[in-house]
Symmetry: C2
Subunit: 517 residues, 2 copies
Amino acid sequence: MNGAEALIDTLVRSEVDLCLANPGTSEMQLVSAIDRVPGMRPVLALFEGVVTGAADGYARLAGKPACTLLHLGPGLANGVANLHNAQKAFSPVINVVGDHATYHRQYDTPLNADLEGMARPVSAWLEAGRTPAQLATLGAAAVAAAGRVPGRVATLIAPADAAWTEMPADYTPAPVVPLPALPHIDSAAIEDAARAIRAARNPMLLLGGEALLGDALINAGRIAARCGLRLHAETFNRRVQRGAGRLPLVFLPYRGELALELIAGVDLMVLVGARSPCAFFAYPNRPSELVPPGCRVLPLAKPTDDVAAALADLTAALDATAAEPQWQPHALAPLDAGPLDTRRIAQAVARNLPEHAIVIDEAITGSMPAQQLTIGCRPHDWIQLCGGSIGNGLPLAVGAALGAPGRKVVCLEGDGSAMYTAQALWTMARESLDVVTVIYANRNYAILNFELERVGAGTPGARARSMLNIGSPNLDWVALARGMGVSGTSVTTAEALDAALARACAEPGPFLIEALF
Amino acid sequence: MNGAEALIDTLVRSEVDLCLANPGTSEMQLVSAIDRVPGMRPVLALFEGVVTGAADGYARLAGKPACTLLHLGPGLANGVANLHNAQKAFSPVINVVGDHATYHRQYDTPLNADLEGMARPVSAWLEAGRTPAQLATLGAAAVAAAGRVPGRVATLIAPADAAWTEMPADYTPAPVVPLPALPHIDSAAIEDAARAIRAARNPMLLLGGEALLGDALINAGRIAARCGLRLHAETFNRRVQRGAGRLPLVFLPYRGELALELIAGVDLMVLVGARSPCAFFAYPNRPSELVPPGCRVLPLAKPTDDVAAALADLTAALDATAAEPQWQPHALAPLDAGPLDTRRIAQAVARNLPEHAIVIDEAITGSMPAQQLTIGCRPHDWIQLCGGSIGNGLPLAVGAALGAPGRKVVCLEGDGSAMYTAQALWTMARESLDVVTVIYANRNYAILNFELERVGAGTPGARARSMLNIGSPNLDWVALARGMGVSGTSVTTAEALDAALARACAEPGPFLIEALF
């Protein structure tokens, strides 16, 4: 058994059994170890941003981390943007990054780089093994550091010689490190929050992270019913269970003015797995903090705390255990026939969303109508871009499909965003993943036209417009998908989109719909 | 005039007049400034790896830097791999990276990241402006820090509020900072090298960087003729002038064994703009240093020194000024008809390469035959991946076409490598760039099959093979190109490739040929 085999064996025994990979020469021992050690499923992606974004999506559905396999500093760097997104979502990811043999780094050959420096900004835990025994021990430590959901990004650097060297003769498999429990919110804080809620005129819970799933979310609904308070989710969420028979939860809008309008008059905002709301960007003469005047912000549980237990305890403290939440009825808007716009796309999606579908939302300017018009459709999960770095959606769809086999994934994806990591389509085809991708093909970085005005930069001229529109030439998404082995169709009307979605949702496997508008 | 306008104005006055851009909201003031300040040409790319790789390619041909425009930490991170490649090529690049307004960073909103930490590993110079006046001053300093070829990567962080705030009333345009001269090799070192060359039995010059162009290369040829010594170029080079009527220069092979075989018996290796040769990767029981036994390595000029002056001085010291170099005759191998392989592809390329074409070589396992079989074709420039991070070729082609208008660019590109940054095709179409791309479509990470054996990892089983082959599904490169607005054709024989290349080289604008084998 060499260091590579000991590392893969340790990961498998720690229940890490999916490896999202884009390896190179320095990882060949690890590739070979995956061949020989049973229990690790390798899935290849043709670009590292797909690898890391898929690891994020997998964690959100499976609740546990996958490992990645990346090629030295530059290979890791290609995955950094989606590791950033994973960190902001508190998705656990374990990166295994090959490096040159320890004695070879001194020669500073072409691929040599400041690998640690590249990894550090997106790694809550970062270690390099110098010996085969260290690879096994650090593998177990990386699993513990990444944790489950909510978790962190842990990066383990594996030099080639540590991977190819035989383990010491006396090696016994590295013990699995137990996961630490999530920090518990103490009863004084729970009582304090309960008192504040009772005393407030217009209190609100802002929910994030694990508060948006299962019993935690139901408890929030009980509190809302018992105390007559408002519930909102953050603007961008790791995963929300919503739809008919669940809570009618409205996300805080992206635009600060709309968010402040929505929560105007709130005098107490209790944060449960959420952070105090802020504008996504700064704008001249607009506030960064999105808190109504005079509103007290009470942080009860951070995203990394035991949010579900905090909500259960708060429910008891508020005597809401038997309260009946207000459930969202099944209700769909009719389909307006005619040329597509973001509202009609959302109507068609809502009508066709299969029960327990997983929606990946990177529709950007199309997101708000999609969220509003799907609130009453069949129960589903809603998955969002949490770190703002576009190019997360298609990889998230890959990972969600791998993490929740048997459920349909519907990926709502802006055309500009899709182009960052379109290679994800190839992995969907290779693995026959059950993903329907809807490309919002408006041939613009539409949000930037809107933001240009908001930052006070005036009316764009020809040179500015050339950096905002992505037509000329037009992207042909059906051709792009076909180029990567995914079938697709292009539609321009609500009726055609409705029919295409009905077909695509009924059939297994990947399919792409270019929604032109 | 605001900070953004002052920065763009400073760059334009410093002769930086091309902006390769993938902006977001935090860069809207800079987008608007490019609109209003004359003299800066914006070119949009749909992914940051294209932006930075194109900046590298532009510098290699134009001899001076372009600026990039990137969106916060994650946007920069997407460009890091090709910035790594640019650094290893000593290509000057000026990154302008937008950031949140200074007072907004404290809120740690979704796109907030350790921007400095992400930039540092690939930035020889890194500064953040906090005021509009600093943006102008640091803009001039960034140009000086990046330099010309050979140059460095300089990164300037521009917070949104520094960009949108008006300049002080007394602002006078920031002075252009003069570029420092390249370090000169003193006459004692020249004399020492000349003595060593005269005394050696079998001396050799290893050339890199600026030694491979113009008078510097001709002087190397004079020295070789006068002293009967051998000339070689490094394995991976920023830019080499070669072909008929130039020097018959052989690059050191990628495979260490072949490199050592080629230079066996050399007893003196003088490094001129080159580094002492090393294996690209470490392999068990193979040497990292590729120097023949008993050979003295004499470092005369580093890649960042004044290599051209050093060669001129060495020519004089060796009394070789009047020597006539051995010129490469015009000589082409005949085209072998039949199914494509890397040799037949190279033959077809060699026959059709237009005079003064620029060849981008990221053909990986196809590179060596391509280099060998084009040595006698019409004079051309040869451009290589210097940092080993694949996905450089198509962006380099974009930048080379922008940096050398009127010259045909022929991009020899592995299918695996092409998938990292295929978005470059869209920019080729948008800007009508004169690039013929030949995709080496072997549907494998072919080099990894070869490397797996070399690292002693044994015969691959099914799981390992699934991480090495990129067929299943097959990529359809003609569809991918069409999806991004580039016409193309697929060929399987030498005759068909020859005909397609003849047509594509005769027509202006981008074209893609999928060479299936």
